[in-house]
Symmetry: C2
Subunit: 228 residues, 2 copies
């Protein structure tokens, strides 16, 4: 990490002089002051990726939801809680050469979230009204002049992984999708390993199961090649 910090400071390495935005972790969407909706995301893959990009000399803005994993040394860390806070932080961090959206952003927020703790009532469960959250990946991908040259999304799926991820790439307009199967049986969610397929405009490439650290190193190299 010290080497990475020095490399980034000196602007050396294959990503020297490049700025990469990495989003990581879950978002928390409040229901009331004590309850929220969350995604299961440890932030392990996003954190490892940011560290790998730093090691290649990139300047990294690391926009992270609540996570117990310490952010990588040398990154510009922006801590957020909700999808809308994450969106604002990402837009604020532009311009960037690349953006990697590894965060598990909630698709929905509770529009009628309460400033007071909701009480059990005879009327039954609270009626939650959902509103769609901003789609940060699609927004970044659709930017005109300010679009990062490379926009990478992640797709965490539990079935029809490749089909869903391929459709996601087309729908969002991003360059690559890193697809993985987060079914409980895989042990990937919360674990130290990952098995991903990289989906691009020209095809797909399945990587063998390896540590999240190894996925990060390999993906950072690919990003460096794409920006070279």
């Amino acid at each position: 990490e010290i080497v990475a910090a020095i490399a980034a400071a000196l602007g050396s390495g294959p990503l020297g002089g490049r700025h990469v935005i990495v989003t990581s972790g879950p978002t928390h969407e409040p229901i009331d002051p004590v309850r929220y909706i969350a995604n299961r995301s440890s932030g392990a893959q996003g954190t490892a990726l940011a560290a790998a990009l730093l090691a290649l000399g990139a300047r990294v803005t690391f926009v992270t939801g609540p996570s117990t994993i310490p952010p990588p040394a040398g990154a510009q860390v922006v801590r957020v809680e909700t999808a809308r806070e994450m969106q604002a932080a990402v837009l604020e961090a532009l311009p960037a050469d690349a953006a990697v959206c590894a965060a598990a952003v909630a698709d929905w927020r509770v529009e009628n979230h309460s400033g007071s703790k909701l009480k059990k009532t005879a009327g039954g469960a609270p009626q939650l009204v959902f509103a769609e959250n901003p789609d940060i990946l699609a927004q970044l991908s659709g930017l005109g002049d300010g679009r990062p040259r490379l926009v990478v999304g992640f797709a965490a799926e539990t079935d029809d992984v490749i089909a869903h991820a391929t459709a996601k790439r087309a729908r969002k307009g991003c360059d690559w999708i890193v697809a993985n199967d987060v079914s409980p049986a895989t042990g990937i969610m919360g674990g130290s390993e990952n098995a991903v397929t990289i989906i691009t405009a020209t095809g797909q490439e399945a990587w063998p199961r390896m540590t999240k650290h190894a996925v990060a190193t390999r993906l950072a190299s690919r990003i460096a090649e794409a920006l070279a």
Copy 2:
């Protein structure tokens, strides 16, 4: 902690030979494999209380939801995720001389939670159907022969704290309620301090703001007095 472990093993101390069940932390209620509803509870107060009870010689069954705080050494630790798992673990741990329900249990679970990741659709947000979770505190309080001699609940409120907590004590049928104000402005949620009011059948007693560790020590002493 070593002293506490030895004290418990030897059955010495004012709570020697007593069995106390402590619930702690949040519960997580799944929406689908990657999304869940959670409470904001670090588990700090429950963990500190279990440690304080162990230090007084009690045998402690510590039933905890997901928490990043390590459980106290010497406790019998049972890790759960949902309210129904917590209920099962508590009932399994009976008989007990006292039960302290410090966990922030979700009042509701998602009855139609999905085994596959819910997708965004043109139809809008997913329709979540809520079902009421079991009320562990009320159930323990209402047990006949198997009722712990002392049942203590916690009330985390954001407004009308004492009124809500007093009503809660009567409604649940427990002996004491430890009431605290978790409004964001207090900094208690996720912080190291707490300001509680102990509500009993005969009145209420407001304790000054102090560390959660100090609250735990004082509450453990009171529990020892009640069971003496």
